[in-house]
Symmetry: C2
Subunit: 424 residues, 2 copies
């Protein structure tokens, strides 16, 4: 059956389509933090952040059904849906981040954020880290080392060394924030010398794709100062950390203590219904909308707004941010106490964890981490890997993840650490 | 109420957000070809092609509800949904257009199509018409004269004069196809001289945004020859004409008699659920997927596939392509017989019509067309305008549009032509 599906995929979707696991999982059902495959096997989902309030949450499904049965159209007619949602969402944001454009994917959102920086500054130079992902459009792929652009990076893009807690930028954890900012300053100087000028710095406030390094609040303060002094915008990609996942705060940038000029959101926004958005200060929105008459056919349609609104309902009614904080702290404590000679660091924020493995010779334990992921999958727990060398376990479960789920996953991980061979 | 909503829009969404009508419509409900506003007024929808099989079609809503209650995830796990849909969809296409990437918006689809041309040719030069729209991403806006890119058109883009039946390219209808191709040939030579080389020509097979000019099958034959001789790809944007709308054929390019290398689809694909796709020959898909490891979080998720599949179900079960052919022919005949001194041309393909108005001095009757649209809206029929000078009425209703709806709309249009002043 799985073999059939793989052959059909190759025939119908072509080569090189990303897929998870040596033995891919054929899923047929989801509920809460659980997934089931075609053979009736049950998996604990420790990976997917898109089903934020739980797979197939009935409140979100009901909202989609109700609105899809009533009206689905576009924003060139008037409808309360997008206005009610924008009011409720922007109430969670400070820094005068009070206006929104709704789109369908995080890539579309970041593609707009880049142009907001262009519209405000009149420049094109853009900076991101050298181990990240901000989207799959032609423009955003130029900031995505995980999916590099066809033809290579253009001259208006500079990628600076990503933060790292095992191998910190500049050589020491204490000096990393300043060393990172110094690299951004150098990149700005290069962009100015190149004639592109500098428009903005795009970042994830927990550096999720970089491997969620164990940085501290304030880490980007020196960088923000450098960026602002050069007239650039701070473009904050909250596609992964947003909506309470990191526990302590609803947004990653509030945890980091940074005031962004633009915030983009996506994946968990509508619990899997394709919705994303760009939120900006009115002066920035106005500059963009004067330069470009943006319209998105599906963006902000009443069904997407209803799904996004229902997702906020459940986050609030089920106390999911507080759950992320409490369960996240519990799980991180257990992950930190895991013992293995190759374990370099367990780190996390709320319900987002990384466990990094390094070999005794200092090299990344990439294959070992891969085997751990496969062991977990074979035994009914779905997680994956991240980081520059893919030697860090990545856990980012749906938000109704409880301590009993954390125990189940971490008990199995303990077993994996005992049973998966670590050969030098 | 409407005033309140407009003020909230300005405050929450910012300035310059596209909206229809002098007195915007506040919609609350849709069913079939009908829409209702907050005051209970009923409108005949002669504009929206996204609710292809009718607003809020219960079969599509049921499919969405069923799948959203069961499983919604991404394509890095195995699922039949995307495979079943791809098999069924590609069976409607010839020319070995047999592999698909599913995304969320037509803009994302065209953004990929541009990169397929880059990946195959190793060149970046791209050509479109000078009165069109292919998307709102940074890259696709460079081909969109209706939403020009911030900072202007880059040097790898050439825009050739759009086909027109009232003012044909090259001066005569007979010579227009060759004159159009000659302009494409000149643009290719310019791109080669510029050092970009030529990667492809992107076009809508009915030139929908250009005002759906009354061209004939074979129109692009000379252009296709020029494009192929130069090694470029024919990138066919079927976002508007696709899925049976033009009546005679399921796809616009089959009506035109053109073999595209890449086809993009969007708006009507899932009846309003955000879904779009790129379909290509295996050699082209392979070149793209080798150059770029594309993955789209929401693209091809089981719910989007279920919605798209259900949309195909209704197109087939309700004979909507044949309906578009029959009702389209009936309505076009009536539109052609409309009498007004400023009426220059009534034209159309299936359920897609344009009625162009020109003043006696030869200038476009832009204001007059605008007043007709407002008259229709005030009297319960929604349509809009298109064309270089926005002097062409645009009608593109949901596909279950019957002769009784055509009569209602055209009777009212007759009244509008009598009552709206046409002052020199």
């Amino acid at each position: 059956m799985t073999t059939d599906l793989l052959a059909r995929r190759e025939r119908l979707l072509g080569p090189n389509v990303p897929i998870f696991y040596d033995e891919p999982v054929h899923l047929v059902r989801g509920e809460g933090v659980w997934l089931w495959d075609a053979d009736g096997r049950k998996y604990l989902d420790c990976y997917n952040n898109v089903p934020h309030v739980g797979h197939c949450h009935p409140h979100v499904v009901e909202a989609i059904t109700r609105q899809a049965s009533t009206l689905n159209t576009h924003t060139r007619y008037l409808h309360e849906g997008i206005l009610d949602y924008t009011e409720r969402l922007t109430a969670t944001l400070s820094h005068d981040l009070s206006q929104l454009i709704m789109v369908c994917t995080g890539s579309e959102a970041n593609d707009i954020a880049l142009r907001m920086a262009q519209a405000v500054t009149g420049k094109t130079g853009i900076i991101a880290t050298d181990n990240t992902y901000h989207g799959n459009t032609l423009a955003t792929s130029q900031l995505s080392t995980r999916r590099p652009p066809i033809g290579g990076y253009p001259r208006n893009v500079r990628l600076v060394p990503a933060p790292d807690t095992v191998r910190p930028v500049g050589g020491s954890l204490d000096g990393q924030a300043q060393a990172f900012a110094d690299n951004v300053a150098n990149a700005i100087a290069e962009l100015e010398a190149e004639g592109c000028g500098f428009s903005g710095f795009m970042f994830c406030p927990v550096f999720a794709n970089e491997g969620i390094p164990a940085i501290k609040p304030g880490f980007l303060d020196p960088t923000a100062e450098v960026v602002r002094r050069a007239g650039g915008l701070m473009l904050c990609d909250e596609v992964q950390p947003g909506f309470g996942r990191i526990g302590d705060t609803f947004w990653g940038h509030d945890w980091l203590g940074i005031a962004p000029d633009v915030v983009t959101i996506g994946k968990p926004m509508a619990n899997g219904h394709p919705a994303a958005a760009v939120i900006a200060r009115p002066d920035i929105m106005s500059a963009f909308r004067t330069a470009f008459g943006y319209f998105n056919t599906f963006g902000g349609n009443p069904v997407s707004c209803a799904a996004a609104m229902a997702t906020l309902d459940v986050i609030e009614s089920d106390g999911l941010q507080e759950n992320a904080r409490a369960v996240g702290a519990y799980a991180l404590d257990r992950l930190r106490r895991l013992e293995h000679p190759w374990k370099a660091e367990a780190r996390g924020s709320g319900l987002f964890f990384g466990v990094e493995f390094v070999r005794p010779d200092g090299k990344p334990a990439t294959d070992f981490a891969a085997q751990l992921v496969e062991f977990m999958r074979r035994n009914g727990v779905l997680m994956n890997r991240i980081g520059r060398d893919m030697n860090t376990l990545k856990m980012r479960p749906p938000m109704p993840f409880g301590t009993e789920h954390a125990d189940l996953a971490i008990d199995l991980l303990e077993q994996a650490l005992r049973e998966v061979p670590h050969v030098e």
